[in-house]
Amino acid sequence: MNDSSSWACPVKHAAEPQRVSLAHGEGGSSMRRLLEEHILPRFDRLSSLPLDDAAVLPQIDGRPVLTTDAFVVSPLFFPGGDIGTLSVYGTVNDLAVRGAEPLWLTLSLILEEGFSLQLLDRVLESVAEAARRCRVSVVAGDTKVVPRGAVDRLFVSTTGLGRLIEPGPSGSATIEVGDVLLVSGPIGRHGIAILAAREEMAFEPPPESDCGPLIEAVAALRTAGVRVRAMRDATRGGVTAVMHEWARDCGGTLVIEEERVPISSDVRGVCELLGLDPLNVANEGTMVVAVHPDDAESARSALQCVSVCARAARIGFVRARGLLPVVVKRGIGSERPLLEPSGAPLPRIC
């Protein structure tokens, strides 16, 4: 024991994990220590600036793009990521699929009293590492501590500011009959990873989340000159939810060809066993893209050059609006409606 608390009984102290207390959120010396010892050193831009109430940012060349998101996930740490990586990639991806270059992030933490400081360090390390990987800077933040039971351990909220790279995607309202739909990789990995981790189902190897940045994938489409109508990271509700939103926006019928949809063998196994449809399962680093039909092949090959998108594939197309907004074609039989998911998919035995 070598710090100021060495007067305490060393045995007891060593056994007791350090925890967040309400005092850490009360603005005094405890809070300053939390900031100085745990948060600021991990973020260059924060530690180099005076601790003002707001960050003044440099002029940017282009139209600013702004997004915000809150992250609650149980468990906090899961195969392939944690709430820290999720809170960076989630926001960065929202900017990227809107055609922006992500520049800055804010980071708000709501901590439950008693949360382990060691775990907090791990989360913050993940945030810092993910931000470095995406070349974004955390420039402002906030920390609150609430009494035990008021939140589930840790909630994180991030806001992202980026610069639109012109011309951005023309938007889902411009999706036309004949356009081709692609996914950037195998679907359903995040939702299955979380489900497997949360329900203690003991799958081996534990399915990994796809939690990761889409910046490179978007850049590859841009470089290839693909006329992108719309891009969306297919988070909650999975691919199905995005298809329904786009169908509403563009007024066409979106057709998914089930056999073309890439699915990893672990997601396949878990989905069969638990009776889930991978199309409805969440992703956190996989996007759906609608492109001009002439660009479909170049989009696919551009995506496949990005390491995490090696299994990018065409999964469907758009046609004139029938009575149903979204349909799925299976190998056997006629087309069937793909209903908008309501509520999280639950494992079933029936």
């Binding site: 003991a202 990893s264 196994g269 035995i349």
Partner: protein, 86 residues
């Protein structure tokens, strides 16, 4: 009712008549299933799993017979799927 899925028995972990368990492979994952209803199953056998328990072994001869029948009747032949290996 009754979602049940075939998987390949990879490893026995407990051979007690009541507590029997073993690892069964489904696609790219394996899951530890209860095997009390299929004590005769051997590693490499396929078993049908419902709600975490194996209900029966899959009779490979019967499966192949049906597939052969289909091949003889139809123009297109269903392929035999590859064994999953983790």
């Amino acid at each position: 009712m009754c979602l049940a899925v075939p998987g390949r028995l990879e490893e026995w972990t407990d051979r007690d008549p009541l507590l029997a368990r073993g690892w069964v492979v489904f696609g790219g994952v394996r899951h530890e299933c209860h095997l009390a209803c299929v004590p005769e199953a051997e590693v490499g056998d396929y078993v049908l799993v419902h709600a975490g328990i194996a209900l029966n072994r899959i009779d490979i001869v019967a499966a192949e017979k049906l597939l052969r029948e289909l091949r003889d009747a139809g123009e297109e032949s269903p392929p035999s799927a590859e064994d999953e290996m983790l």
